[in-house]
Amino acid sequence: MNERDLVIVGGGPAGMAAAISAYENGIRDILVLERDQFLGGILNQCIHTGFGLEYFDEVLTGPEYADRFEKKIRGISGIEIRLRSFVVDLTENKVITYLMPGKIETVKARALIMATGCREKTREMVHIAGTRPAGIFSAGLAQKLINIEGLLPGKEIVIVGSGDIGLIMARRFILEGAKVKAVIEVQNESRGLLRNMIQCIEDFEVPIYFRHKVSKIIGRDRVEKVEIAELDGGPGGKIISKKVIECDTVLMSVGLIPENELIEMAGVRLDKNTNSPISDETNKTSIPGLFVCGNAFKVYDIVDTVSKDSVEAGRMAAKHLGIKDEG
């Protein structure tokens, strides 16, 4: 079987930073597998600014931040990048099976770094009553539709949850001519960064309801309205009042969870609540030589920290392979 010193799954910011670092730490045989046709991961759809202040001391958009790493990685001949390569199976012995257009490949990794990012929690996970009409999207999916596909999912939007993605999407919808009728947050304050509360919510006078939850989604074929309920003191509190808001679209921005099905398949122990590998050290797992970095290890707010921690994963992989620190 084809064997490589280091295989990295995922070509987002985590995978790219890990690959570059692994090379800089002496690994010369590196394969990066990415299912998309581009490198960059989620950053490609994050067209807003707010990246790179820490890592580059510059205010960059997502694609600009990704490009800094892509340029560097493309310049290193010891790193082979395979796009449209979707990893579907992983064993404890680090045998990786992946699909490329028209073929199936397997490769054995001496060291493996998983940088598969995270996915959004869905409506099912937060339990909202009501019908199942069209018009319910996760915030990240809406972001992809608008920023990559050029499709506006709706005209009158209610956003559930006030995490950063939800806030960023409130502004994005408004800029594209839609109306954001409400942001509904069950806690006492926003879960997002203050700056996003200012530049996405206050700037555009978007109504935000704290200590509220969406109690029902109403609509036959398409969302027609939502019922929201005010909770005494916040989550778990008694319902004090109810109100109906008309809208055609509901965005769920209720958090992210690491995407770790593959390592679970391989037998890595995961925390049931967070879906992160159980580990006493960042990037490590219960399987020696199998590392996890970026949003797959834990959900990071800031990509700069992802890059920093992923550099460590590259170094750890070199150490696992017995390559001595240079210098």
């Binding site: 067209i47 600014t49 694609p63 600009e64 920023n147 800029l175 203050l194 700056r195 200012i198 800031i302």
Partner: protein, 120 residues
């Protein structure tokens, strides 16, 4: 008069207090870096925001090319700028930082690509 401003220059989000006397800024406090002072002054005198969006690509590797304003837009003109951005269509190769439109609405602001796009 005192005005409280939350700085948006970085994720820290400093809370800045601006004392205004005789419609002039008398004192600025609470910021942890010089960017905060600059931001606070701008928020009082002429609030501006950078705008990011996309423009349509034709015959390019990307259906949509993400763009940003080079320089910030007065807050009151953001929707006007968006309307102009929506009219832009690009058909040629683009590098990051390359202009797709110049001096939008006479505001002295260019629109630049934030991702490279190749001809198909």
């Amino acid at each position: 008069m005192k005005k409280k401003i939350t700085c948006i220059e970085c994720p820290v989000g400093c809370s800045i207090l601006v004392d205004i006397e005789d419609s002039k800024i008398a004192k600025i406090s609470g910021e942890k870096c010089p960017k905060g002072e600059k931001y606070a002054i701008s928020e009082i005198e002429n609030p501006v925001r950078e705008v990011t969006s996309t423009v349509r690509g034709e015959g390019l590797s990307l259906k949509l090319v993400p763009v940003r304003t080079r320089g910030a837009v007065p807050k009151g003109r953001i929707m006007d700028v968006m309307e102009e951005i929506r009219k832009i269509k690009v058909t040629k190769d683009l590098k990051i930082g390359e202009k797709v439109s110049e001096d939008l609405l006479g505001l002295g602001i260019d629109i630049i690509a934030t991702r490279k796009a190749d001809k198909k």
